[in-house]
């Protein structure tokens, strides 16, 4: 009980602190930094639900991001819908795609590397489709017109977007918290750790994994919708390309998968790293990703539990039993 409440309190504190940031500074740079860091955190948290808690590593999570993004854009452009309504559609649409992919892959027992590859393949298929089909704007992509107002989910200053993303991140934190303290979460982690043993004690791996991918894709779709509102633009490469997939997964791994704060930590760390890199080397194409790649390799080699697991890793280095 204590751990439950303590973590809930931690979430409340985090949200309160971040919410206060715009009260203390009007600097566009700072607000933008915080907003983007939160955005990265959302993607990482979404990935973490399926990858960290569910143990299913998706290499094509952009699939859900892009779906959410395109639905958000098309619902406004072609459907004439209010962005808030579009958001509901975007999140539901991504969840639906997530459930379909999950139903297909989990029904046939795909796991591990094969699952990772299939998600990558799906993302690629969608990317090619988006590139070839006229109503997604094909290669040119889609642009939503500038019209700043709360009703239109576009804000004059970064402050508005910051609160928006903070809302999504809070939701993701609460979902993650729930995974740590619920029967569903216990079942999900059991399936991750040992599927047969889980089955023997009454867990249905299929429905559990399906639930996880549904939650994960929904949050990822929210991230896609957010992107569209902030940048007013989406194209196949951004929507379904490997960049977003990699960003989500590296941040989660670096921070520590399967934990509450790992993805947030990882996203912030990588974002800071990217900022430092940009200041040191300027806008060199690819330098960010090189750093992400190197960090990923180093973390997997030396700190596989991520930053959040630092304590445990150090402890096990000094203990006789157990491996990191």
């Amino acid at each position: 009980m204590n751990a439950m409440l303590r973590q809930l309190g931690g979430i409340a504190l985090f949200v309160a602190v971040v919410a206060c940031i715009p009260l203390f500074t009007k600097s566009g740079v700072v607000l933008n930094f915080v907003m983007m860091a939160l955005y990265a955190a959302l993607l990482a948290q979404a990935w973490n639900i399926l990858g960290g808690f569910g143990g299913q590593f998706s290499f094509g999570h952009a699939l859900f991001f892009g779906t959410g993004a395109y639905i958000q854009a098309m619902a406004q452009l072609q459907g004439g819908l209010n962005p808030w309504l579009a958001l509901v559609l975007a999140v539901s649409g991504s969840a639906a795609i997530g459930l379909m992919v999950g139903a297909l892959t989990f029904r046939y027992g795909l796991k591990g590397s094969y699952f990772a590859l299939v998600t990558l393949a799906f993302a690629e298929v969608f990317r090619i489709l988006a590139l070839s089909v006229p109503f997604t704007g094909a290669g040119v992509g889609l642009m939503i017109p500038l019209a700043e107002s709360f009703a239109n989910m576009q804000f004059a200053s970064r402050k508005g977007y910051l609160y928006l993303i903070l809302g999504f991140v809070s939701a993701a934190l609460l979902v993650t918290w729930w995974l740590k303290h619920s029967r569903f979460g216990a079942y999900l982690q059991a399936v991750r750790d040992n599927e047969d043993a889980a089955r023997a004690v009454g867990v249905n791996p299929f429905t559990v994994k399906l639930g996880a991918i549904g939650l994960s894709s929904a949050l990822m779709g929210a991230g896609g919708a957010f992107y569209v509102q902030v940048f007013q633009y989406i194209d196949p490469g951004i929507a379904f390309g490997p960049g977003t997939s990699v960003e989500a997964l590296v941040a989660a791994i670096v921070g520590g998968i399967g934990t509450l704060w790992g993805p947030v930590l990882g996203a912030v760390v990588l974002h800071v790293l990217a900022d430092i890199t940009r200041n040191l080397f300027g806008q060199l194409p690819g330098i960010n990703m090189v750093i992400y790649g190197v960090v990923l390799v180093l973390i997997v080699m030396f700190l596989p539990r991520g930053i959040a697991g630092l304590g445990a890793t150090v402890k096990s280095l000094f203990s006789k039993k157990g491996k990191p």
């Binding site: 619920s182 982690q189 040992n194 043993a197 023997a200 009454g202 867990v203 249905n204 399967g258 157990g322």
Partner: protein, 254 residues
């Protein structure tokens, strides 16, 4: 005559050319503590897998509490009251003992705090209370066996299939575990165990089935079965029974 909680009829399963289980039929009476023995490779674990739904039989049927459950998924069988353990222990290694057992408890308990409390109660029952907040991966073999047992118990089974729960334990650990198994059976749970540790079979089981090369070759009380020639031969080789008898006679004459 107690009714059969589990009855299997003509169960068969092959893997390629290998006939792992051939036409096996048996009935496990409700409330009994029984054992399934046989030399290595006899097909005992395969039989458990067929009973609990991890494998589908090529032919034959499995009935649990009167209902035909042939080929039904393991998790559904668990919901209905049949839980199995594994010969090679399968802990949720990254989770604590408490969290492990709680997964089992959650079968009947939705609330997380209640499940965790229930886990503590069961841990005490099997003697794991001291290690309850340790990661399962850090337990000794004996500890893991107890954890396996505890997790299965937490599901409140009516039928518990224990696969070599004493394997790998030293004599003291066996002596400590046996009363636990006896206690489980006494509490009303029907127990069917696969065992190699004959001491446990002789002391605990009311009825024994002997499996060799996929076939049921004998059944009866522990004493009947261990003095059965066919059983001796299955373990020790063809002609052994005769040689043993001859040796006995030789000794008697000397």
């Amino acid at each position: 005559m107690t009714s059969a909680l589990l009855s299997i009829n003509g169960l068969s399963r092959s893997f390629g050319g290998l006939k792992a289980v051939q036409n096996v039929s048996l009935s496990v009476p409700t409330g009994s503590l029984t054992a399934l023995i046989g030399p290595n490779g006899a097909g005992k674990t395969t039989l458990f897998a067929l009973m609990s739904g991890f494998l589908k039989p090529d032919s034959g049927s499995v009935h649990f509490d009167g209902a035909d459950i042939t080929g039904r998924a393991p998790h559904i069988n668990a919901v209905n009251g049949m839980t199995r353990t594994f010969q090679i222990v399968q802990p949720f290694a990254s989770q604590t003992v408490r969290e492990n057992i709680a997964v089992g408890a959650h079968l009947h308990v939705k609330s997380r705090p209640t499940a965790l409390l229930e886990a503590e109660r069961i841990a005490a029952q099997v003697g794991l209370l001291k290690q309850i907040d340790q990661p399962a991966g850090e337990l000794t073999v004996a500890g893991r066996k107890r954890l396996e047992l505890a997790r299965a118990l937490a599901t409140q089974p009516r039928l518990l299939l224990l696969d070599e729960v004493l394997a790998g334990l030293n004599p003291q650990e066996i002596a400590e575990m046996m009363p636990v198994v006896r206690g489980i059976a006494d509490s009303g749970i029907t127990v069917l165990m696969i065992e190699h540790v004959m001491q446990a079979v002789m002391n605990l089981a009311a009825h024994v089935w002997v499996l060799a090369q996929g076939q049921l070759i004998a059944e009866g009380s522990p004493n009947e079965v261990t003095s059965n020639e066919k059983v001796v031969e299955a373990y020790l080789g063809h002609g052994t029974a005769a040689r043993l008898r001859a040796a006995e006679l030789g000794k008697a004459r000397a």
